[in-house]
Subunit: 301 residues, 2 copies
């Protein structure tokens, strides 16, 4: 099974676990409020690039993939936590985004109440998925849960990242690290942990990638049309959110992005899968900040 | 240490774990956005009756309390999940409650965005607390997490209970079971599981108690003043929510409550702590639906 199929398969298994898979797969699905069930599926399928679970599985593979069931569960859990953060981030009280991944956001399609509950259900399902994947070998479960909780919750996870948007003063690096870097480092650390390797050695790779993704997000918010973005653009400026594109200018932000990607590649620990990970980083760099639509545009400005 | 102290101690330990304990206890507390930190504490302290963790620890004791550290973690995790559900339940898009436990609700004190994030952070912290409490003996952790997830998430946990409020048709027993019964059965089941006993045998006791609590809530919403309640009263009627007090009338709802409490007591499995659990149920019955302020009032009506 290739990585993309492995991820979708793990996410479908998670849906079944939460009785979200529909009539044929889940005997007790009839007990689930229909709008909640539809909204949870809407939040997870179809996905975006699934870069976080890809990264988690790539690192697990680079570390020998000694427990594929646990690695799959960790990858799916991280994607569910990511989807939860998107659903809550899109709420009217935060970004008030009407679209996400080119379709209606969860609160637009199902209402604000269901959107709050969908995020909650996804967080719960993430930990349930992880526990299910560790049933055969629970000794790594406490460390994995503790890791994901630290990278997602307060004080320095993505929840904290969103909470910095409610403070009068925000240090940009701390904000980016919490909002995006933390979950990316969860990917590399969890991939290593699930394969029985030292997560600490993989933290820097994830953190640099995460910071690069946040900067890419800022760049795309300025340089991409809403259609290309699949969600409203120009939101950072409109909502007075900290953004490297407004702070450094478009060219400065692109240079910063390139530095972060180079630092990420340098941070890959020596391992059999190093070349594969470098290729993944290179492909992502072009996908995120493409030559034709962003770099040439910045040069012409 | 008595049960109440044990609970507050376990909750404070959970706060420390999430770096929510303040400057002296948490070296990295400075990294946490201050409003989020204050809001999480506001949501958990001072508590209400802490009946859920009390019930969890009472059952663990009745089953021999073989792993007190794990039982404490389970009790704290359940209370944190309960607090999370209250914070989200109070949001403007749900109950729009300005007060809770006699003080400002989280969204009133800290704003809607921080309230959404506080609920998220509490859910994450609950699973983190459970994992931390199982570090020394992880073999029971998968079952405990799976249990809590099923009782809290979709399709039949408290998240589903709140989601039923967004559906055009709701069956009252399914709604009550999801919204309150499920977390009460989590208390008795988790208490048993943490002590190495069979959780299945303890499910009915928790479910009956939970249904009784939901009916008591409906009764108190009608019969208590806002001051006595510590939150706005008459909300079920105002929000067209399913309520046994509006469906059965006040006297009918009280009779239903008494039946459920009697069924709960009958469901206590034979064990050394049975008398202690019966006494707990009796005291709670009077605390929830007091003779002087509710039963006499219903008789006089």
């Amino acid at each position: 099974m290739n990585t993309q199929d492995r991820i979708e398969h793990a996410l479908l298994a998670a849906m079944s676990l939460g009785s979200m898979a529909g009539p044929t797969d889940a005997p007790d699905h009839k007990d689930c409020p229909p709008k909640l069930q539809a909204a949870v599926r809407h939040a997870v399928f179809p996905g975006g690039a699934r870069i976080r679970p890809q990264l988690c599985l790539a690192v697990a593979r680079a570390c020998g993939d000694k427990d594929p069931r646990l690695a799959d569960a960790a990858a799916a859990a991280i994607e569910l936590l990511h989807c939860a953060s998107l659903v809550h981030d899109d709420l009217p009280c935060f970004d008030d985004a009407e679209t996400r991944r080119g379709v209606a956001s969860v609160h637009t399609a199902f209402g604000e109440r269901i959107a709050v509950l969908t995020g909650d259900a996804l967080i719960v399902l993430a930990f349930q998925t992880l526990a299910h994947g560790a049933e055969h070998a629970p000794q790594r479960l406490p460390a994995l849960i503790s890791l994901l909780a630290r990278r997602v919750g307060a004080p320095t996870g993505i929840v904290a990242g969103q909470a910095w948007e409610c403070e009068p003063y925000v240090a940009l690096p701390a904000y980016h690290r919490a909002k995006t870097g933390s979950l990316f480092s969860a990917c590399t650390e969890a991939g290593a942990l699930a394969a029985g390797a030292d997560p600490q050695a993989w933290q820097a790779f994830g953190l640099c990638l995460g910071e690069a993704y946040q900067v890419a997000d800022d760049i795309r918010d300025v340089a991409f049309s809403a259609e290309l973005l699949g969600k409203p653009n120009g939101r950072d400026l409109a909502l007075h959110r900290p953004s490297s594109a407004t702070e450094l200018g478009l060219s400065g932000a692109i240079a910063h992005f390139d530095q972060l990607m180079a630092r990420a590649v340098d941070a890959i620990p020596p391992c059999a899968g190093a070349a594969m990970l470098r290729a993944l980083a290179k492909a992502e760099s072009e996908r995120l900040v493409p030559q034709a639509t962003v770099r040439d545009l910045a040069l012409a400005a």
